[in-house]
Symmetry: C2
């Protein structure tokens, strides 16, 4: 990457403009905008774009102008301050919209103990230094929800093989780039055997291309216990979306809260670097906000585009300032004076070139190494002309073996079983299972199982028929017949994929 | 409750027998088995039952004998040590089997800082004292999973209104019984608006019957951050199953790990009290295991059956022993001698009647108050003769408005849209939405959205038709037609319930 590099920059709402100014002042002082910055002949240009409250107030429910979208897509990089989501009026969170619209599939967050930032863990002498990589598109975050009976609501948890591949490979590549020796895959594959089993499988497949990185897996509940007891055991953890969300915020707590936790959303075409804390409207405009999270997010961005040298110089200056007791009013030693936002950043600027004494300094690459690093940095791919279909598994042999039919009915399991056995009598299928909330209630079950008004009824091929003897038409016909008498609120085709059942057994089956 | 009370008791595997003996010795010394124990004229009888490794080894995949099941169901109470789940051979976790078989819908866990148990938080001077109540049946734990295309796997997250009611009311009742002033509902209703929205709604409805309890809600990621930063802000949190699992183990970490975290699984008929730590085969039989978690679980059980007085007496003795430096080898001040399991329990027995000095003692109810408490304690209901159907919402007016049809296809969104518009031409339905992994890709969408081989296609009534003009038969007919050309891997009926849409919109819709 050489020549002119542009970054769309949205200051944000509330304290956003103050902390953005402070952050850009530090970057400018470190030479990031200079034409002498190695690898970027004309320096980095921060291009202001309009996003946030003022845009929402003009009736734009995305909170971004068309021009802001155009510039961001051209740049491939967005640097943003915190933004308000208006209550009511149909406005949606800019963070969520941006992530979805631009398919930023991985959320990368860094959690690190900082000198001068007192936490429960710093007091106990336990240093924190880890990254969480969270899948950003799939899982229950698709928000695909249906009320299936009076009493039952369902949310689909969707996990795809290409989605797992993208985020797991991104985590391993990032570990390689940053020299992180070990990556854990966090999951709940002991319960969600197929979905989280897939996540774990794809992680394992990906690790084969990263033999120098130690790969481990950990069940998410044990992970959360361990993170609280000995957080130093982890350097990077990659997780599905919801678990990643929960674990990320747990880790923010370990290092003192969202004010010290930078964040990046990485996509194939567009990546977004942001502070994830709020807009703090109560102190906005008073020049006292803490810019640390946004500044640390900027350092993630510099490293993302290959500018390891200025990132290291700035990071050492930040560490040096913090260990000297430089602070804003929201943290640090209350016996020392609290600085304003601008003073805080000037203290950092004044320390550019210095190294911290109480914590290990970040190694600063030599200028000639920097050029090599920049050459291998990611570049934004060309704008696609339409949505791309991403694939992992092709050429799989698939055969229909039955269907699961879901009924909205207040009947008892026995009554449901009687009706279902009758309805499938002269079909290729036999009734093999009825479950309620995942627990088998027929052919066997416990009298203690309490049922709601929503049943799964499973039909599989009778003996004598083989997978593939019939197509899905027979299943649809069966459903049609059941729908004459019952409300069929949901249906799934049961298939074998390369001879392996593509469906789970019920608890107790 | 008066007369003879029996508790099925399974010592468990590994260190189970040692810690069970130690625990029962303490209970015996506190008079729990005496016929003079108030409220239980003949004292409590602990009835040994066979569960665990030895039973699995006889080829029983449930790991419990029929006699053990019969006795447990008669007693309504099971007290159990840790048990091994054999690898391979089809054996299933006894914990999961018991919870499911006996419909123990709530997992209650207590987390409390103990004197002498050093943790990061004790060193920081932050006391922990909270309960987590976890829904135990529903959510993704039903394990209802389907592979819907080569690349997409789905897990159903199921949340029912009666399931929410049971666990939320149990939490509030427990708070009332134990004098806990505030209960938080933990959820992710900002993302899973319908399922976790239901959980939160039902919590709020339940709180109306508990006006003396402060009710709050908290988003689960913020909860995890707060628990790490200021755990003292919470006294009881009730959560859906998976989040409850994660948060419970986080809290176990706060107090020193699973060795100090008792657990109860509460059902309408049968409740299970257990230590959730492992069987520690490496130290089994050496008489050095720490019985604290099992003993604390016994205290939860005593309170469950109304024996608050002996529970308080024992708890004070435990606190008194721990603050004196009484310890097993796995925790405490290494400069003091580590005791064996039996010695450890004898130290507790020797302190029955004493109160701790460094932490607040537990108030011991007077004998006559105890009798009143026992009278209000839960009793096990009669064995049901068949599965019960539990209901919250009845008399809801429901009308069909369309269907979501899910396709397994590698086509592009535009190609899918063309085909789907053609297929619904002469039906009462129009194509309103195509989404991929929850993100809208038609009629509008972003070129940056990356699609997998699994689409949701939404059909809703054309203008001029009203909800209820057609039944589900038209939807099944549409699906039948689509299935002539596409693989329909899944289907959901779209309805309005009392005029409210029973389905979510796509991101971007």
């Amino acid at each position: 990457m050489s020549g002119h590099l542009r970054i769309a920059t949205a200051a944000g709402d509330g304290i956003g403009p103050e902390i953005m100014n402070a952050t850009l002042e530090v970057l400018r002082a470190a030479g990031v905008m200079d034409s002498t910055a190695p690898g970027h002949a004309a320096g980095v240009e921060f291009v202001p774009v309009e996003m946030g409250k003022a845009v929402f107030e003009k009736g734009n429910t995305r909170g971004m102008t068309d021009e802001a979208i155009r510039v961001t897509e051209e740049c491939g990089l967005l640097f943003k301050g915190p933004m308000e989501t208006p209550k009511g009026g149909g406005g949606k969170s800019i963070n969520v919209t941006a992530r979805k619209m631009w398919n930023a599939f991985a959320n990368l967050r860094q959690f690190r103990s900082l000198p001068g930032v007192e936490t429960v863990y710093s007091r106990a002498g336990i240093p924190i230094d880890l990254f969480i990589v969270r899948e950003n598109i799939e899982d229950t975050y698709g928000g695909v929800e249906h009320r299936l009976s009076n009493d039952m609501i369902q949310c689909k948890r969707l996990i795809s093989a290409p989605g797992c591949d993208l985020v797991c490979r991104f985590a391993l590549q990032t570990a390689r780039k940053l020299g992180i020796p070990a990556v854990h895959c966090g999951h709940k594959a002991n319960i969600m055997k197929m979905t989280d089993g897939l996540f774990l499988d794809r992680f394992r497949v990906a690790t084969r291309d990263f033999p120098e990185i130690q790969a481990h897996d950990v069940i998410v509940d044990a992970l959360c216990m361990n993170l609280v007891v000995r957080p130093e055991a982890y350097r990077m953890v990659v997780l599905p979306n919801l678990m990643g969300d929960i674990v990320s915020d747990l880790c923010a707590g370990l290092v003192g809260g969202l004010g010290f936790a930078p964040s990046a959303n990485i996509g194939r075409h567009i990546s977004i670097f942001e502070a994830v804390h709020g807009t703090a409207p109560d102190i906005a405009g008073r020049g006292i906000a803490n810019p640390t999270a946004l500044l640390l997010s900027a350092l993630m961005m510099l490293r993302h585009i290959g500018l390891f040298r200025p990132a290291a110089v700035i990071e050492n200056a930040v560490l040096s300032a913090l260990e000297s007791g430089v602070r804003t009013g929201d943290f640090g030693d209350k016996s020392r004076p609290a600085l304003g936002t601008a003073e805080f950043s000037r203290e950092i600027v004044g320390r550019l070139g210095q190294s911290p004494r109480t914590v290990p300094p970040v190694p600063v690459p030599a200028e000639r190494d920097e050029a090599a690093l920049v050459a291998t940095s990611p570049s934004s791919a060309a704008r696609p002309t339409s949505q791309q279909v991403i694939r992992t598994f092709a050429d799989v042999v698939r055969h229909v073996v039955g269907c699961d039919i879901y009924l909205d009915t207040p009947l008892s399991p026995v009554a449901v079983a009687d009706e279902m056995q009758r309805v499938c009598q002269d079909t290729p299928f036999r009734l093999t299972l009825i479950s309620n909330r995942g627990t088998q209630v027929w052919p066997t079950g416990s009298v203690y199982t309490e049922c709601v008004d929503y049943y799964r009824v499973r039909f599989e091929l009778r003996e004598g028929f083989r997978p593939g003897d019939f197509g899905q038409a027979r299943c649809v016909a069966l459903m049609d017949r059941i729908a004459e008498k019952f409300v069929v609120c949901s249906y799934e085709l049961l298939r074998v994929f390369d001879g392996v059942k593509g469906y789970s057994m019920a608890q107790g089956q």
